[in-house]
Structures are given as structure tokens and as C-alpha cells.
């Protein structure tokens, strides 16, 4: 099915819709390699430009855009690091990684990572600003309940309930599909 697309017209609308769908998680994927948000965003844009160009040159649509994109974005990140010849230690690590080498297991792991992140982004968008902030202080800034309570000027109890509520729905949503698959299987 994947290779049967006869029409190879690729346009702004198509690339734009892919961009909006995949942008957020791809940025995270790039960030994991380059550790700088602006560079990550730049690389993701470059990925879409490359994809656009290749499609115009007659490349077919990849069977699974998710796999394709996650791998390509990571490779762009690795290339970027190589070009910059960042710190010696990193260089060593990366010179051992062949960008084209991607065993199936890793591909699957990458795809499920994509799915989980996508769902987390969806939920983050639904959270009220204040709750998102508390979540950020906890997950990203590794603050304790007490520190968060001080920083936000709320009671520890508020921090407690809001955090457990947020993680509970994140967990439900992130594991929802997996659970379903398991239940159906049993």
C-alpha cells in the first residue's frame, strides 16, 4: 500500500500538515542529541526542507513517517554535533555511532517513545497554566513539594493534589493504548 501513491505532488499544504503534527516530538528528539532548543528547532525545520526537496525529486512517501522522521532528525543532530566537533568526549561517543545503523528493536522503541511523547504534549496543552508550571518545577527542575509550594506561593497540599492529578492523567493517557492492546490480547 505504502508505495502505491501515484500522485507525487507535494505542496505547502501537505508539508504544513506534517509539520504541525510532528513538530513537537521531533524537536524533543533533536534536543536529546544537541541539547539546545534553538538548534533543535532549526534542525527540525531542515528535516522538513530536506524531506520536501527529496519528495520533489521523486522520492516516494515513507511507509511510516514517524519512524522515518525520528531517525532522520536524530541523524541530523548527530551530523550537527560532528560538524561542530564539540567536546572531545562527545566526539568519541558519536564516532562510534553509525547514523544509518538502526536495528528493528531501536526503531520500535523510538516509535513508542514518539507515541508517548505525543500524548504527553496533548495533555500538557489541556492543563491550566498554573498546573503546568507546578509540573515543570517538579519534573524538570526536580524541586521537592516544599520548594514548589514556596516558589508558587501555594500550600503543600495543593502541590500534592495537583501533581498526582496531572501524573495520573498523563499516565492514563500515555499507557492507554498499551493497556488496550493488552486487554484485547488477554
Amino acid at each position: 500500500m505504502g508505495n502505491e501513491y501515484s500522485e507525487q505532488v507535494v505542496d505547502e499544504e501537505e508539508i504544513g500538515s506534517l509539520f504541525r503534527m510532528y513538530y513537537a516530538v521531533f524537536c524533543v528528539q533533536a534536543l536529546r542529541v544537541v541539547h539546545d532548543v534553538d538548534i533543535a528547532k532549526d534542525l527540525v525545520q531542515d528535516f522538513f526542507i530536506n524531506y520536501w526537496e527529496r519528495r520533489k525529486q521523486g522520492m516516494g512517501r515513507p511507509e511510516q513517517f514517524k519512524h522515518y522522521g525520528m531517525r532522520a532528525v536524530r541523524n541530523l543532530g548527530i551530523d550537527y554535533c560532528r560538524r561542530l566537533e564539540v567536546k572531545e568526549r562527545k566526539k568519541e561517543v558519536f564516532s562510534n555511532v553509525d547514523p544509518a545503523y538502526n536495528p528493528v528493536g531501536e526503531q520500535e522503541e523510538e516509535a513508542s517513545y514518539y507515541d508517548r511523547l505525543q500524548r504527553i504534549f496533548e495533555l500538557l496543552e489541556e492543563l491550566p497554566e498554573g498546573q503546568r508550571k507546578i509540573l515543570k518545577l517538579h519534573a524538570l527542575d526536580k524541586m521537592s513539594y516544599l520548594q514548589i509550594a514556596h516558589a508558587q506561593g501555594v500550600s503543600i497540599n495543593t502541590v500534592r493534589t495537583q501533581l498526582s492529578r496531572a501524573y495520573s492523567s498523563l499516565r492514563k493517557s500515555a499507557s492507554g493504548l498499551l493497556l488496550l492492546a493488552l486487554l484485547t490480547y488477554i
Partner: protein, 389 residues
């Protein structure tokens, strides 16, 4: 004996979360189940941190604009002038909307008050009346029944099928597992599914569904056009299968138009989230309110900023003329009034129409309005209308 089923049991959030960012040594005291949960949670927190590290700085639209700049530099974009063109066109459409609405409604009342009787007569003489509540219900045991035209919809629950107003339609026997509601041309009908989800079916459409939802997925099959208002159930996704695409949702409202003779399947999201994908293709797209997906030949296009009203107004008895294409409007009229338009060699005007009218409008009034706006003529021959310039 551990006969515990796989259940999404709630971990002790408090204990785990506090443990996570503190130095205490509770972790060594966790039971095996707790350890698994704690590790799962650690990953969740790490992934949430991944997402949050970019969340505030993403600026998707801004980034897309930069991406478009790069694309223009490399000559990937073909029509640079299209934006300006559209904004003028948009303005014209709104201007036309105002004029047309005034003309049509004004015109209709004028005709109605002065020559009301004449118009009614001519409509009946033509034998063309607007559509109404019409549907047939077929059960998996072979029973089939024509539903009451005075009723607007039916409801299914474990006791059987009844009208919205309460009157019974049919009780179930053992062998009934599936039911199909078919709506003919010039019809519409409403349905409440066993889970409480509501479906509006448009003309020439069909919905097949189980009389009770079993298992973890709620699956229905659609032909034609339907508006879905899905009851939210966290652990039981609702799936609409239609020509060439699957839609998966938890709880949300959206419109699907999947007519056999239309090239593309159009899904428009009003509320909530839906995941959409072409049948047999792994790629999934997430729609948010105001977005629309067009699926054609296993190919998904997503549009943003769609005026949702245009695509869902039919369920409220409104015909929206504000479509990209006169052909779309004509198709809608064909289905609702059970008529046929013959275009022949006529060039259909490219400009779009605007405004909206009630679907109870006599067809000749409606067509007069379109004639006036587009500079074409309809020549009636029974239920067929030739379009002339």
C-alpha cells in the same frame, strides 16, 4: 494465588512523587509491584520533563513560517502570490454573504406574503419537496422496518429500540447483534447509540453498529455523511470506519463526509481530539478543534482554521452555500431535495457563493437565489435541472 487481572490500578502517587525528588531511602522498601510502578513513573516523569523542556519555546506557527522562508529560498514553494489572492477573495465572499442573505430572505418573504399560495402550488406541482425525517432500520436477524417520519430519531439500549419521544420500535431477540440505520435521499435521521453517543445521519447515508458495545473498542461503520457527538470513555476508544479511513476518538464531536462518489473523505473536528489515518497505513494524524482532514487515495491532508459551522450546519437544518465550490453545494441540494443537476457543457462559475438558508426552503426559491448570485440558469425538467449560462 495471584489471579489479578491487568488493571490500570492507581499507584500511590504521593509516596512515589515525593520520593522522586528527595534523598530519603524509601525506595529499598518497595514491594515488587510498587517497584514496577515506581520505575514506570520515573520514566513518565523523565518523558514529561523531555516534553516540558521544549514546551514553552516551541512556537509551532513561528517555526513553520521560518521553515517556509527556507523553502522559498530553495524555490520549493510554487505560488508566492496566493496569499494576497485569497484575502481579497475572502473579503469578496463576506461581502457577498451579506448581500445574498438579504436578497434570499427578503425575496422569500416577499414571495411568501404576496404570492405565497402560488409558490406553494408550483412547488407541489413540481413534486419536489425538501427532505425530512426518513430512515429504514435493518437488524442482523433480517428484520427491517421503515421508521416514523414524524419522529426525529431513535435510541438503542439493552431493552430494545425506541423513538426519542419514547415510543417503542422493536425489542431485541437473542440473534440481534448488529443494526443498520439507512437514510435515503431527501432524508436525515438521528440516533443515540447504546453508550449514549449521538449520531446525526445525513441524506444517502448508512451507519452499522452493534446493539451493545462489547470489548474495549466501540466500532461503527459509516457510509455517507454523519455528525458524531461521542460520549467520553477513557478506556474505550470510539472508532468510526469509513471509506479508506479510520478515526479513533475518546470523547469528542466531529463531522465525517464519506460519500462513495466523492473523491475524498472529509473529517471536521468541532470539539476534543481525534486521531485519523488512512486504512492500512500506520501514519496517524491528530486533529484539534477547527482542523479538517481530507483523505484521498491513502493520502492525508490537514487544514487548520476551518469554519466548522459550514460542515456541520446540515444537522441543524441549514444549507450553507459558503463552500469552495459550487459543485459541493449542488451535491448537497441533490441529496436533500432528491433532484439531479446536469451540467452538460456549461462552465460552472469559479466564484464561490456565500450565506446560509433553511433547508425547508422551496427548491425554486433556493435556486433563484443561486441563479442571481452566479449568473447561471436552471432549466427544470421533472426532477432534473439543466444548468445553462
Amino acid at each position: 494465588m495471584e489471579s489479578k487481572k491487568f488493571s490500570p490500578e492507581e499507584p500511590d502517587w504521593d509516596k512515589f512523587l515525593e520520593q522522586l525528588n528527595s534523598d530519603s531511602q524509601l525506595e529499598g522498601q518497595f514491594s515488587p509491584v510498587e517497584s514496577t510502578q515506581f520505575n514506570e513513573l520515573k520514566r513518565l516523569v523523565a518523558e514529561t520533563a523531555d516534553a516540558l523542556s521544549v514546551y514553552d519555546k516551541l512556537d509551532c506557527e513561528g517555526s513553520w513560517n521560518t521553515c517556509m522562508d527556507k523553502a522559498r529560498e530553495r524555490n520549493l514553494v510554487e505560488e508566492v502570490a496566493s496569499n494576497r489572492f485569497w484575502s481579497v477573495k475572502l473579503f469578496m465572499r463576506y461581502a457577498a454573504a451579506v448581500i445574498f442573505l438579504t436578497l434570499t430572505i427578503g425575496g422569500y418573504f416577499l414571495i411568501k406574503t404576496k404570492f405565497g399560495q402560488v409558490v406553494e402550488d408550483s412547488v407541489i406541482a413540481g413534486g419536489i419537496e425538501p427532505g425530512g425525517s426518513k430512515a429504514r432500520l435493518t437488524l442482523s436477524n433480517g428484520d427491517t422496518m421503515v421508521l416514523d417520519a414524524d419522529e426525529k430519531g431513535i435510541r438503542i439500549d439493552d431493552k430494545g429500540i425506541s423513538y426519542e419521544s419514547g415510543g417503542a420500535v422493536s425489542s431485541f431477540s437473542q440473534e440481534v447483534t448488529y443494526a443498520t440505520l439507512s437514510v435515503p435521499r431527501a432524508g436525515q435521521y438521528q440516533l443515540v447509540l447504546p453508550d449514549g453517543s449521538k449520531v446525526w445521519l445525513n441524506s444517502e447515508s448508512e451507519l452499522t453498529y452493534p446493539v451493545s458495545f462489547k470489548g474495549t473498542l466501540r466500532v461503527v461503520h459509516l457510509k455517507g455523511e454523519g455528525f458524531f457527538d461521542v460520549q467520553h470513555m477513557v478506556d474505550r476508544p470510539f472508532v468510526v470506519k469509513s471509506k479508506g479511513q479510520d478515526i479513533e476518538v475518546l470523547g469528542t464531536a466531529f463531522n465525517v463526509s464519506a460519500y462513495e462518489n466523492d473523491g475524498a473523505v472529509t473529517t471536521t473536528l468541532v470539539r476534543g481530539r481525534v486521531q485519523i489515518g488512512a486504512t492500512g497505513v500506520d501514519e496517524r494524524f491528530l486533529l484539534k478543534p477547527g482542523m479538517q482532514a481530507l483523505v484521498r487515495n491513502g493520502h492525508v491532508h490537514v487544514k487548520t482554521g476551518v469554519n466548522v459551522e459550514e460542515y456541520t450546519a446540515w444537522k441543524d437544518g441549514v444549507i450553507v452555500l459558503e463552500k469552495q465550490n459550487i459543485r459541493e453545494v449542488l451535491k448537497q441540494i441533490e441529496r436533500w431535495y432528491d433532484v439531479e443537476f446536469v451540467v452538460g457543457k456549461t462552465d460552472l462559475p469559479m466564484e464561490t457563493m456565500s450565506g446560509e438558508v433553511s433547508n425547508k426552503l422551496p427548491i425554486d426559491v433556493l435556486l433563484k437565489g443561486i441563479e442571481g448570485q452566479l449568473n447561471i440558469k436552471f432549466e427544470q425538467n421533472g426532477r432534473r435541472f439543466m444548468i445553462k449560462n
